[in-house]
C-alpha cells in the first residue's frame, strides 16, 4: 500500500534511482552506436535503452518512467549531437512510452516483458516515422517500416529477455526491495 504522503527519504531515494537508470540508459544508447551490428536496414537499432525504461516501468510509477524517457532523449541528443532529429526521436519515445505504459497497466496478465518490449520497440519506429511523415509531407517514408518491424521483433524479444534478467536480479537487492514494498 502506498501511503498518501510519501516520506521525503523515499522520494529522494527514488529520484536518485531514476537518475541512475537514466545514466545507464544513455550509456547503453551510446554503447549501442559502437556495436557493429549491421542490419542492412537504415535506422534499425538494438534499442538497448529500452531495457532501463522497461525496468523503471516495472519498479516505479509511470511518471518516473516518463521522467527517465524525457531525460534520456534530451541527454542523448546533446551527447550525440543529434539535436536536429530530436523532434523525431522524442515523438517516437513518447508514443512508445504511452503504449508500453498502457500495456503494463492493462495487459500485465496477458503479456510478459517480452511482449511489452516488442510493442515499445515497434511503436517507437511508428512514432518516429509519423513525425517524419508530418514534417517531410510524404507517407512514402513508411517504405522501410516492414523491414524495421522485422528487426524490431527480433531486438524486442532480446531486450525483453535481458530486462527480465535485470528485474530478477534487482529484486534480490535489499534496498531495492524496500523501495518497491513502499511503493
Amino acid at each position: 500500500m502506498r501511503s498518501p504522503i510519501e516520506s521525503p527519504d523515499l522520494a529522494l531515494k527514488r529520484s536518485v534511482m531514476i537518475a541512475m537508470f537514466t545514466a545507464v540508459a544513455v550509456v547503453l544508447g551510446l554503447v549501442e552506436t559502437l556495436i557493429p551490428v549491421n542490419f542492412q536496414i537504415p535506422g534499425a537499432k538494438l534499442g538497448l535503452g529500452n531495457i532501463m525504461v522497461l525496468t523503471c516501468l516495472t519498479f516505479f510509477r509511470g511518471k518516473d518512467a516518463f521522467a527517465l524517457i524525457v531525460l534520456k532523449t534530451v541527454l542523448t541528443a546533446f551527447l550525440l549531437g543529434t539535436f536536429s532529429s530530436f523532434l523525431f526521436s522524442f515523438f517516437g519515445a513518447m508514443f512508445s512510452f504511452v503504449m508500453m505504459f498502457g500495456l503494463m497497466k492493462l495487459g500485465r496478465n496477458n503479456f510478459s516483458l517480452i511482449g511489452i518490449s516488442l510493442v515499445g520497440g515497434i511503436t517507437h519506429n511508428i512514432g518516429q516515422l509519423t513525425a517524419a511523415m508530418i514534417v517531410l509531407g510524404t507517407s512514402k517514408i513508411f517504405y522501410y517500416l516492414p523491414f524495421l518491424m522485422l528487426t524490431g521483433i527480433v531486438t524486442g524479444i532480446f531486450v525483453g529477455i535481458v530486462t527480465r534478467y535485470l528485474v530478477q536480479s534487482l529484486r534480490k537487492v535489499p534496498q531495492f526491495e524496500a523501495m518497491i514494498l513502499n511503493d
Binding site: N110, F111, S112, I114, L136, T138, Y143, M149, I153
Partner: protein
C-alpha cells in the same frame, strides 16, 4: 512468454508478411523490369527541389541548408548519398539505390529522395512536363 506474447508475435509476423510478400513477388519484379527512364525526386523539408533523370554518367548534387550539407551522386542510372554532415549518418547507409520506389532519407536535414518512373502514379509525368 505468455499467451499474449505469442499472439502478438504471430500478429506482427503476419503484418510484416502482408507488407513484404506482395513487394517481393510483384513490386520487386515490376521495379526490376522497369526499363523506362527513371528520375530522382528530391524533397527538402516537404518541398520538391529537384527532379533529375538518373543517367549513366555521374552527376553530383549538392544540398546546403542551415541544417547541413549533403552530397548526392547520380551514376549508373541510380543515386547514392555520398556525403552528409549529419550526426547519425543513416542516410549513407541506404547505399546505392536504382529501383523505382526506393528511397533515401536524411531525417536530421529533412531530405527525402525517391526514385520515380515515367508513369509513377500520374504525378511523375506532370512533374516531368513541368
Amino acid at each position: 512468454m505468455r499467451r499474449g506474447d505469442i499472439w502478438l508475435i504471430a500478429l506482427l509476423v503476419v503484418i510484416v508478411a502482408a507488407f513484404m510478400l506482395p513487394r517481393l513477388f510483384n513490386g520487386a519484379s515490376d521495379a526490376e523490369n522497369y526499363s523506362g527512364t527513371k528520375y530522382a525526386r528530391i524533397m527538402v523539408n516537404g518541398q520538391e527541389t529537384h527532379l533529375l533523370e538518373l543517367t549513366k554518367e555521374s552527376k553530383d548534387i549538392e544540398l546546403s541548408s542551415t541544417r547541413g550539407y549533403n552530397l548526392l551522386r547520380i551514376y549508373e542510372q541510380g543515386i547514392e548519398m555520398i556525403e552528409a554532415d549529419c550526426p547519425d549518418q543513416i542516410c549513407k547507409s541506404y547505399g546505392f539505390i536504382d529501383k523505382v520506389g526506393q528511397t533515401i532519407v536524411c531525417l536530421p536535414h529533412r531530405i527525402f529522395v525517391e526514385i520515380v518512373g515515367d508513369a509513377a502514379e500520374g504525378d511523375g509525368i506532370d512533374a516531368i512536363a513541368n
